[in-house]
């Protein structure tokens, strides 16, 4: 069994972080440059961490598989970033952001981490503004805010519909400064394919240069993974095509535990699937729910009609009806499930019947088309390019799609995994969002981890490591890891199977969506595990990878990533099967409120809402690799203890 010590500092919740920073070990400035830190990833989390660690004086090496750090998937985030600034004077506070996030996560996040996130949120906005991030402004020159789901205050900062891009360019610029100064060595087109563990500590990585095919060993005093989320296990998602789980998965196979893998976020507002050839789903930012109203026809018979011909009285604004307090701004898991229900009832719209309307007619009437264009212009044009429809004239059609993964490598309060010296930041870790993430909170977490948390906590580990003692790369552990990587590549390129890696991912994605998607059952999950088992076997024998080993070869890249996705998919199903409750984005059909429950009768929740079982499942499930892909993984538990908030039934009514 792995040892999981969450290292949560003692003392009152609100002063834990301050106290912890004060009691953390420091390293004197002259010594810092003797420590080498590898950071894999340059999304918000990795770029901000690399820049800040270099400013502090560490020798930093940054690795990305992209051609440039600026292309990390963070660039695609649209809507905004939360911070408890209370600039709107609408009652926001650190405590409220903390509370909303805990509640939004359906009481499955670690309280101390979430409180720290809320505290640090205010510094993030200051940092980004100082970097020149062109946030939206009011006429007086002060920062503007909008609202996101799961909150009743306006605390979301934004830069048109391109907030992620602008924040990433801010972090990238900080990184560039340090690269220019020689304090960070940037390795682009470099994919990490294994973690090197020496005497139980993370001491290096094995990297393949995607341009030349060359495989190299890198050693360090600590390794930081900021490699993003794994939603592409579903094939179709709002992620960039290149996003993958490989870095985390290889660390898992080296002993890092993987926490809550089944917690997946299905985002309610995406452009519906249109055909089998489709390669990705496009998000329509949640910010649209500030001004758009979601509805379907009340009657099935009306579904084929032109929406303009459906009278007001024949429309069902179902979120406003079911969740009157939050209405169209209900949290994502709630809004997605509601869309699924109305479509399952046969009231969905569009060719496939898997769609609901997001209607701006009323806002256009109220605010004028130009105001709506100013707020969401780029989203409307993106919608137009994809669907060839004009959303200023006719409502958008949207449907839920895979968007984010709350699960990830397990980390303690210092963001260190159970392998000493291995830190995990951003979407790649599990810590802050519980079973459902609120909108505009991932950008906040990535930057919090990278700018403020890791730079303060890493020294506690490094202080235990003697400067200048990192292992040389000719050590046996490095050789074994390199052989592992090159062995895989040789094997897949010399096989004589028939199917491309892409075709396997497509098949896996379908199994995952059908059996481990928006609604899960014990039977379905068991079926999923079985199907994935056979897929894994076929992958071993029937994979075809064309092209040369040395040089650019996208089939080799995909072969490794898909192999890892297949194994991950199985673990996700196992985790979902083990968790015999519903919480946040994890919905087990067997565990939902029904009309007979007092909570439904008292109007706290609706029938069909998720039902937690706190007495049995108030824990983080951290899975440990058992040494082979076909051996059942070992379940470790971290109990969730709530000191400040009371675990209660989540109500948005």
């Amino acid at each position: 069994m792995a040892t999981l010590n969450s290292n949560i500092p003692a003392g009152p919740l609100a002063s834990k972080w301050e106290k912890h920073k004060f009691s953390s070990k420091l390293i004197n400035p002259a010594n810092k440059r003797k420590y080498k830190v590898i950071v894999v990833g340059a999304g918000l989390a990795g770029a901000s961490a690399s820049a800040t660690l270099a400013e502090l004086g560490y020798e930093v090496h940054n690795f990305v598989f992209h051609d440039s750090p600026r292309r990390a998937h963070s660039v695609a985030a649209q809507g905004g970033i939360n911070a408890a600034k209370n600039y709107q004077n609408d009652g926001d506070s650190v405590h409220r952001l903390f509370y909303d996030t805990i509640k939004g996560g359906d009481y499955r996040a670690r309280e101390s981490n979430v409180h720290r996130l809320a505290e640090v949120s205010v510094n993030i906005i200051d940092q980004c503004a100082a970097q020149g991030v062109p946030f939206a402004r009011e006429y007086g020159g002060l920062l503007d805010n909008r609202s996101f789901g799961g909150a009743q205050v306006s605390r979301t900062f934004y830069a048109r519909g391109q907030t992620g891009q602008q924040l990433l360019l801010g972090a990238y610029s900080a990184l560039n400064k340090m690269i220019g100064a020689g304090a960070v060595k940037s390795h682009t087109h470099s994919e990490m394919l294994d973690l090197v563990v020496v005497d139980g500590h993370a001491k290096g990585i094995i990297v393949r240069n995607l341009q030349t095919g060359e495989i190299a060993r890198h050693s360090a005093d600590a390794v930081v993974l900021a490699t993003g989320g794994y939603g592409n296990v579903y094939n179709l998602s709002t992620y960039a095509r290149g996003s993958n789980v490989t870095a985390s998965w290889r660390a898992y196979k080296r002993g890092a535990t993987f926490a809550n893998p089944c917690y997946t976020q299905i985002h309610p507002t995406c452009i519906p699937v249109s055909g089998d050839y489709q390669s990705k789903l496009t998000l329509m930012s949640e910010s649209l729910r500030n001004d758009g109203r979601i509805w379907v026809p009340k009657r099935k018979e009306d579904c084929g009609k032109n929406p303009a011909d459906i009278a007001e009285g024949d429309r069902d604004y179902y979120l406003e009806r079911m969740y009157s307090a939050f209405g169209n701004l209900a949290p994502r898991d709630v809004a997605s499930r509601a869309a699924k229900y109305v479509c399952d009832e046969g009231r969905g719209v569009g060719e496939t019947g898997l769609g609901v309307y997001l209607d701006f007619a009323e806002s256009i009437k109220r605010l004028g088309e130009s105001k709506v264009r100013e707020r969401y212009g780029n989203l409307f044009s993106m919608y137009h390019e994809i669907t060839n429809e004009d959303a200023y004239k006719t409502p958008m059609r949207i449907y839920p799609a895979v968007h984010y993964t709350m699960g990830g490598l397990w980390v303690d309060y210092n963001l260190m995994s159970n392998i000493p010296g291995l830190f995990v930041l951003g979407e790649a870790n599990f810590s802050d969002h519980g079973a459902n993430r609120l909108g505009a909170s991932a950008l906040m977490q990535g930057l919090s981890d990278g700018y403020f948390v890791l730079p303060a906590t890493i020294s506690t580990y490094l202080a235990t490591v003697k400067a200048g003692q990192r292992p040389a790369t000719d050590k046996a552990e490095f050789k074994e890891a390199e052989d592992n990587v090159s062995g895989f590549i040789k094997r897949v390129t010399s096989g004589n199977g028939k199917r491309s890696p892409d075709s396997f991912l497509k098949e896996l994605g379908k199994v995952m969506w059908d059996h481990c998607g928006m609604a899960r059952t014990a039977d379905g999950l068991q079926k999923g595990i079985q199907l994935i088992g056979s897929l894994r076997e076929e992958y071993r024998t029937n994979l075809k990878v064309l092209g040369d080993i040395d040089g650019w070869n996208q089939s080799i890249e995909k072969a490794g990533r898909v192999a890892d996705f297949i194994e991950l998919g199985e673990l996700m199903c196992r985790d979902a099967l083990m968790r015999e409750e519903s919480c946040g984005g994890h919905f087990r059909e067997e565990y939902q409120y029904t009309a007979a429950d007092p909570e439904v009768q008292q109007g706290i929740v609706n029938a069909g809402d998720v039902k937690r079982r706190d007495d049995q499942f108030a824990f983080v499930a951290a899975w440990e690799y058992a040494g082979a892909a076909d051996k059942a993984p070992i379940l470790n538990k971290e109990d969730l203890k709530y000191e400040e908030v009371k675990m209660s039934t989540r109500s948005y009514k």
Partner: protein, 258 residues
């Protein structure tokens, strides 16, 4: 619909490339251009031919990775749209479509349709930032920014760094790319202290990378997926002139007596 593709295939940076012709299977007009290439590649893979290498990631017009010259035009037929947001409905049944990589001295070809754009990063290393140590920032609202300035800065900051501007320019100039960054940072009050040092450093690096000079043909603006305006080049030129006039900042001795 069906189309015929003439695609540039090149094994690596040093080998000679050539056009190869492929005919597509039946396509759907709602496919994106890149999904059409996925279909072609799956077909090739089944036949045992190496798939066409092309760059892509977000497939929603924001990461700047996709980079195809389609029928002679970087990012294809539409204005203000990246390759990945181009849909097959823009083509007709029976069309022959020519697909090439970005071509510029500073962007050497890696394979087929993929080129190396790291020169853009190196320009940014030289000065594409505002120096602010983490944790040293004042309250975000302590420096108000006039909305018009923030909006204009955002117009420039939208650049996705794809390099279409370079690919379209007969001189392979990177002026629009550099001007966008220089203008974004130079329009923000936070960017003032390093304004002139920045423009000088970035332009010098741009020249060192082998990008050509700008003769204001406007072809860059015409293909920019974010429709970044040529006006930013004029703005940068003004700043550059001031930077030259100001000369190198005076060095002051460090330390003190004591």
């Amino acid at each position: 619909m069906k189309v015929t593709l003439k695609v540039w295939r090149q094994k690596n940076a040093t080998s000679a490339g050539e056009f190869k012709t492929y005919s597509s299977p039946e396509l759907n007009e709602n496919m994106s251009f890149l999904e059409m290439l996925d279909v072609i590649n799956e077909d090739l893979a089944i036949k045992g031919e190496e798939p066409i290498a092309f760059d892509h990631d977000c497939r929603e017009g924001i990461c700047g990775t996709c980079s195809l010259v389609i029928d002679g035009k970087p990012h294809g037929p539409h204005k203000g749209v990246a390759t990945c947001q181009t849909y097959m409905r823009s083509f007709k049944n029976g069309d022959e479509i020519v697909i090439e990589p970005w071509r510029a001295k500073a962007f050497p070809i890696i394979k087929d349709l993929v080129c190396d754009r790291k020169a853009f990063d190196r320009i940014q290393h030289a000065g594409g930032f505002i120096s602010v140590r983490t944790g040293a920032a004042p309250d975000a609202n302590s420096i108000p920014v006039p909305k018009e300035d923030a909006d204009l800065a955002m117009d420039a900051a939208q650049c996705i760094g794809c390099g279409a501007c370079v690919a379209a320019c007969k001189n392979a100039s990177a002026m629009l790319f550099v001007a966008a960054k220089v203008s974004h940072l130079g329009l923000m009050p936070q960017g003032q202290p390093e304004r002139y040092k920045r423009v000088k450093a970035m332009v010098d690096q741009m020249d060192a990378e082998g990008f050509g000079s700008c003769t204001i043909t406007g072809s860059c603006e015409a293909v920019c997926p974010k429709e970044i305006s040529l006006d930013f080049i004029a703005r940068m030129n003004r700043d550059y002139a001031v930077a030259l006039f100001k000369g190198e900042p005076k060095k002051t001795a460090g330390g003190g007596a004591g």
